[in-house]
Each structure stands twice: as C-alpha cells, then as structure tokens.
C-alpha cells in the first residue's frame, strides 16, 4: 500500500478540482433548485474526457487508473454531488459493465458513443419490492426466439430521464433467485419501455431519478451482457467499485462542509469575537476533520486494492460505510456551526446536509454494508 499519489494522479486531481470549482460549484445551487443539469454540461464533460474516464483510448476513453477516477469523483462531489453521481453511474456502472463483461460488438457499438457523451448511461437493479434483497428482483426476461420479452418495474434509476442506454438486471430463471439473474442492455425508445415521472428527492436534486417499466418490451438477444443467469455476480462486482465511488462522494461532500464551516467560524462574530475562538466550535471542527481524514484513507485504500486487483469487498464496504456516516455527521455539525444561517438556502451547507443523506442508503444501505463486513469477518 502506497500512501502517496503519483505525479499523474496529483495532476488529474488538480485539474478536476479546478474544473469543479469553476464550472460546477457556482452552478450547484441552481441545479438543485431547478432539479436539472443542462445537457450542454455533459458535452463539456465529454470533451474533457470525464465521460469515459475508465475506458481505454481505443474506445475514446481517457484511460485513467481507478485511483485517479476516485480522486476526480471526490473533487466533483465536493462541488456538486448531483452531477458527480450522474457521471459516476455513467462511468463506473455503465461503461465498466460493458467493457468488463460485454461482447466485442457491444463494446464497439456503445462505448465510443458513451465516452463521447453522445449517449448517457443508466444502471438499474433496484425494484419497488427489491432493495437490499437484490436477489429477489422480479422484472422478467423470457427468451422468445432471438429476443427477450421484458416485463416489470425498476425504481430509483439514476439518470433515468436523461439516459439513452440502460444496464438492466432481470430475472431469467425466477426459481433460481440470485442465480437466475441476468444483465441486459436496453435502449431508450424500445417499444414497451416506459420512463416514469421524475422523482422529487430530498437531495441530489439535480440528478434525474425515475421509475422505469417494461410491458412486453422486446430486446434483442445479443444485448445480453455476460452469460444468462450470471448477472448477479456482475451486479456485485460493479457495486464494489460503486461503493468506493459513493465513499469518494461522501468524502467530497464532507470536505466541503468542513471547509465552509471553518470559513464561517472565522467570519461569524458573537460575544464580541469570531466563534472559532470558542472551544465548543474548535472541537467540533477537529472531530470533523479527523473523521474525514480516516474516511479518505479508507476510500483511497479500497481504490488502491481495486486497482491492483486485490479482493476488496470488505474494504469497499468499510470505506463506504464509514465515509457515508462521517459525511452525515459532518454536514450536521456544519449546519450547527452555521446556526440559523445553516438552515437557509443561501448557504451551501443546507444542500450538503440534504445531499449527504443518501450516501447511507444507495449502493447498499449501511445495514447491507454491515452484513457484508460481518460475513467477511466470519471467514
């Protein structure tokens, strides 16, 4: 394990930080209020290579190593977590699913368009009745000749309304539960594929989340990713990197909350002096910073393991669990330090507070992470 970043990684982080502070941070509140991120921003991101971060150059990607990718996610999340989660799904769940498990034809057909931002990707595992218990999903895919017939409903799909291509998990052998799940690509516009209304969310409001449903929707057999009934393993492997991504998101949000709280504590005068002179505030800031430091080390280490192909489910879960709980603790303290102002939308901590909440829920709830970790301890 190397604690130090390479020169390349430092440069990539610096570039991401610059982009995030110039282009994302000033717009984050607007995205939140309008519940929308403009399409043009995705074009700009594509031009800078941020929509194909993990893909090799032959598919138009920027070929970043996983640690660099995680550094970019952290920087983007510290400016605008809604945008960050949107492109995180596109990069690490959609592009990566096709690149790691797809056929050559699928890669040639979709990856260049994805990396150029001509199409946006979405990933869908969760169903109304199947959350943490992902093995119980019901959306069915029945083979009819050379096509699969899809029926069912998926929910909380990030990028649901802006995506053109969906990586979908479906049940191909319902009796086999998690061993009967397959991974399949579905294009927007397929007959019988309906995209529902945008969800009204507590936070990450700029990101587009929807329910999608399938009513006798026919999908070509060649859209299957990997083998039939082997989809659950794909979902789990992708979730490992997804979890590290949410860990990075949590660290980003928490760091911004700390930075804002520190700045505010120097400016705010009460009892004739800046509130940072009070030990009650000082200790809050010190505890916040300590938790963030620990989170960052956990996330970077999990990323390092992933990059070096060392089994990392436990470490990814620990990083995600610890960082997301830290983020929620830190945003709460940041609002507290801001007092009444922290409750108002003029201050970014109000948004951080809302944005952070979901990090303890998606890509596996904190409870699911604890299940993964305790199972691993028993090995």
């Amino acid at each position: 394990m190397d604690f130090e970043l390479t020169e390349d990684q430092k440069m990539i982080k610096e570039a991401a930080r610059e982009f995030a502070s110039e282009k994302l941070a000033p717009k984050a509140q607007e995205f939140d209020e309008k519940e929308e991120i403009p399409k043009e921003l995705y074009k700009e991101l594509a031009e800078l290579g941020y929509l194909g971060m993990l893909m090799p150059e032959e598919y138009g990607g920027s070929n970043l190593d996983f640690i660099s990718y995680i550094l970019v996610m952290e920087e983007f999340a510290s400016a605008c977590a809604a945008l960050q989660i949107s492109i995180s799904v596109h990069n690490s769940l959609v592009c990566d699913a096709i690149y790691k498990f797809g056929t050559d034809e699928q890669k040639k057909k979709y990856l260049p368009k994805l990396t150029r931002g001509e199409i946006i990707g979405a990933y869908s595992l969760t169903e109304p009745q199947s959350g943490t218990d992902a093995g119980s999903l019901k959306t069915s895919a029945v083979l009819k000749g050379n096509q699969y017939l899809l029926n069912g409903t998926k929910t909380f799909v990030t990028n649901g309304g802006i995506a053109d291509l969906f990586v979908l998990f479906v049940s191909t052998s319902p009796e086999a539960k998690s061993k009967g799940i397959s991974c399949i690509l579905v294009e927007k516009g397929s007959k019988g594929f309906n995209i529902g209304a945008k969800e009204k969310k507590m936070g990450l409001r700029g990101s587009d989340t929807r329910e999608i449903s399938f009513e006798d929707c026919l999908v070509p057999r060649e859209n299957l990713i990997g083998e039939e009934n082997k989809g659950f393993r794909i979902a789990m492997e992708l979730l490992d990197s997804g979890r590290i991504g949410v860990g990075a998101q949590s660290v980003g949000i928490a760091q911004s909350a700390l930075d804002e709280a520190l700045k505010y504590s120097k400016e705010r005068v009460q009892f004739g002096q800046p509130i940072c002179n009070f030990q009650a505030i000082q200790f809050k800031l010190a505890s916040m910073a300590t938790q963030i430091e620990a989170s960052r080390l956990l996330v970077h280490h999990a990323a390092w393991l992933k990059q070096n192909n060392i089994r990392s489910s436990r470490e990814a879960s620990m990083a995600k669990l610890f960082a997301s709980e830290t983020a929620n603790y830190v945003v709460n303290e940041a609002v507290q330090i801001h007092g009444g102002y922290g409750y108002m939308k003029e201050y970014a901590v109000e948004r951080y507070f809302r944005d952070a909440r979901v990090t303890e829920i998606y890509e596996g709830t904190s409870e699911a992470q604890r299940m993964v970790i305790s199972r691993d301890l028993l090995k």
Binding site: Q282, A286, S287, A289, L298, E315, Q369, I373, S374, L378
Partner: protein
C-alpha cells in the same frame, strides 16, 4: 488493510511471540499490579527496546511503521507491556537520540536500547497536566551544575527506570521558552521516587512520582540548549502519539478478536451467538472503526518515516485510535455479556487499560486543540 509482505511478516513474528510469551502472564500482571520484568527481558532479546535508534547505538533502527506494529501487537495481548515498551522507546530514548549530543547518546542510549536499563520521561506535574507550559520544577545554574527542585507525577516506568529525561524551568521570565530538558540517573542524591500509583488499568505498568530536592546535576546533563525543552517535548510527543495510538489500536484489535471468537463459540437460544444480527453489526462496526484507526496510525507513521510534517495526522491518529479502543473494548464486553464483566475473561481488562489512551500523552481534548490549530494554519 493491505501491507507489503515485509510488514506483514514482521507483524506475524511479533504476534506469535506476543501470544506465546506475553499473553499467558497478562492477567496475573494486572491482578498483582506487577511490573513485567520478565517480559522486558524477552522483548529486549527481540530488539524491541531499541526500535527507534540505529545499530550504531545498539538499536534495531526499524522504521516507525514497524515500531507501531510492534507496539500494536504487544498491546493486543497486554496493554501494560505495550505502554512500558512505548514509553521506553518514544519518550526516553527518542529525546536523547533527537536532541542529545554525541557524548550523551553514546553514554545513555546503548544500555537503554539493549534493555540493560529502562528509561522514563518526566513531564507532567501536579499542576501542569495538559498545560505543560505551567511546569513548576526549577533548575538553577549554580557553578558547574544545575540544582533541581520540584516534583513530577504519573510518570511511566518511574520506579523501574535508571535513565530519566525530565523538564524544568530554567528561566521563569520566558514562559514556555524558559523550559529546559535534563537527563537524570537513578540514585542521584536528592532524586527520590515516590509511591507507586494504584491505577484503574495498565496495572502492570509502573507509574509513580519523581521528587527533586536540591538535586545537583552536572551541566553536561542538559539536553540540547537551555530553553529548548518545550519545543523538544512537543516533538517527542508528536512521535509518542503514534505509539499510544498504536497501543490503543492493538487493544481494540484484541477486543475484536476475543469478541469474534466468543460469538462463534457461544450458543445462545440453540444457535451460535454470531447468528444474531445485533452481534454481527457490533462486530462490523468494531472492525470498521479499527480499520480506519489503523489507516490513521500507519499513515502518520509513514509521514514520520518520510520526514514529512505529521503534527495534525499524529494527533488525529491518537485521538481516533484511543476513542476506537474504548468503543471496541466496551462493545466486546457487551458481546460477552456478564462474562465480559468478569475477570475470567480479558475484555474487562482491555477496557480499563485502553481508557488511559484517551488521557496519556495529551488528552483527547488536547488532541482536538492541536488539530484545530493545524486546521487554522
């Protein structure tokens, strides 16, 4: 946490040693409040009493990361042994090595590094705890030497050590810049050791007061220059924090290992305890906190080894690891139930032992002040 093989091999060797040689005596040392003399002889043979100095001073000169791992693994089975080794290395040898002149190093370090003598560090006073700048002990230059008067309290290794580093005020008008450090030897006239403290935990470790009454020492026992004492012990404590953090980390890991084993082996309501989600989640939380603490400690050790600034990081590591240690020990007791409260099992000792880590070498409150000051920079 994934570490290079050389570190894992090192850990394995210390762990095997600790489990075979140290652990069997841990309970007895605690109950009898007996200093671990035998353990010290054994760890000396492994070079663990000279970890922070190179072979030219008869040390092993290992890096800080290995040092942290050694303290961690000893503390995992016996906190008293862990703190004795940590104080000897970090607080007694380190300041002499870092701030002493060649003669002092040659004279004092080899016997300490070989374990022929134990070392101790006297900073805290009855009225100068967290506010170490409030030191009252005085050292007055008279002729060819200093005359020291005052006392120190809660001094680890006090009655077993033969070499001491202590602080005293040489110039009252200069505040913290008027504090200097001195090397003392056991048996000097006017230097007495008080009664051993009766402590909650770490009962095998020796803690007592030091008294100086017209203690005359030669000028050459001044460590560094006059007025550098405060700066010196701030540096000493930065490193010391890593070892106290490592100690807390080791106790936390010990508590987790014991609790995990207990949960697997105990049958409750016809099924292993471990099958209860309430127990699983406790274990998951303990493991996650410990993993985070380990990253913080090793990262601070890495920074020290690289010669990089690590004031904030070592304070964070010590703060987090010691709070994690207490959390893990408490959870372990909870998993053991009433057995955990009984002295038949070691987890209650772990809780008593680890509590010190939130107090010694700078309380958690002081760590937060240090961290805050660094944040403001």
């Amino acid at each position: 946490m994934y570490l290079d093989k050389k570190y894992e091999d090192f850990r394995k060797s210390i762990r095997e040693f600790a489990e075979c040689q140290i652990e069997p005596h841990a309970q007895e040392l605690d109950e009898k409040a007996q200093f671990p003399y035998e353990n010290m002889k054994k760890v000396a043979l492994l070079g663990l009493l000279g970890m922070v100095v190179p072979p030219e001073f008869d040390g092993t000169g290992i890096d800080t990361l290995r040092y942290a791992i050694a303290v961690e693994e000893l503390s995992r089975v016996c906190g008293s042994t862990g703190i004795t080794v940590a104080a000897h290395n970090s607080l007694a040898i380190c300041p002499i090595y870092l701030f002493g002149n060649e003669e002092q190093k040659i004279k004092y370090i080899p016997p300490l590094a070989k374990g022929e003598k134990l070392g101790s560090f006297g900073l805290t006073e009855p009225d100068a705890g967290s506010d170490a700048g409030g030191t009252k002990t005085t050292a007055v230059l008279k002729g060819e030497g200093y005359v020291i008067n005052g006392s120190k309290c809660f001094i680890t290794n006090a009655s077993v050590a033969e070499t001491f580093v202590i602080t005293a005020v040489t110039d009252k008008t200069k505040g913290t810049k008027g504090i200097s450090s001195f090397i003392l030897e056991k048996g000097m006239k006017g230097f007495t050791i008080g009664k051993k403290e009766n402590k909650m935990g770490l009962r095998g470790s020796d803690t007592a007061t030091l008294h100086f009454e017209d203690l005359k020492i030669p000028k050459e026992n001044l460590l560094g220059k006059e007025g550098e004492g405060f700066k010196q012990f701030m540096i000493t404590l930065d490193g010391g924090r890593i070892s106290i953090g490592a100690m807390a980390l080791g106790i936390a890991q010990g508590a987790l290992d014991k609790a995990l084993r207990h949960a697997k082996e105990t049958i409750e309501s016809d099924k292993p305890l471990i099958e209860s989600q309430a127990i699983q989640f406790k274990l998951a939380d303990m493991a996650t906190q410990i993993e985070a603490a380990r990253h913080l400690i090793y990262h601070a050790a890495y920074l020290e080894d690289k010669g990089l600034k690590y004031v904030k990081e070592s304070a964070m590591a010590k703060l987090f690891a010691s709070e994690t240690g207490r959390f893990a020990a408490q959870q372990a007791i909870q998993i053991f139930g009433e057995n955990g409260y009984s002295r038949r099992f070691p987890v209650e000792r772990y809780l008593r032992d680890v509590k010190l880590c939130e107090i010694g070498e700078g309380t958690s409150e002081i760590q937060r002040l240090v961290i805050f000051r660094e944040l403001m920079k």
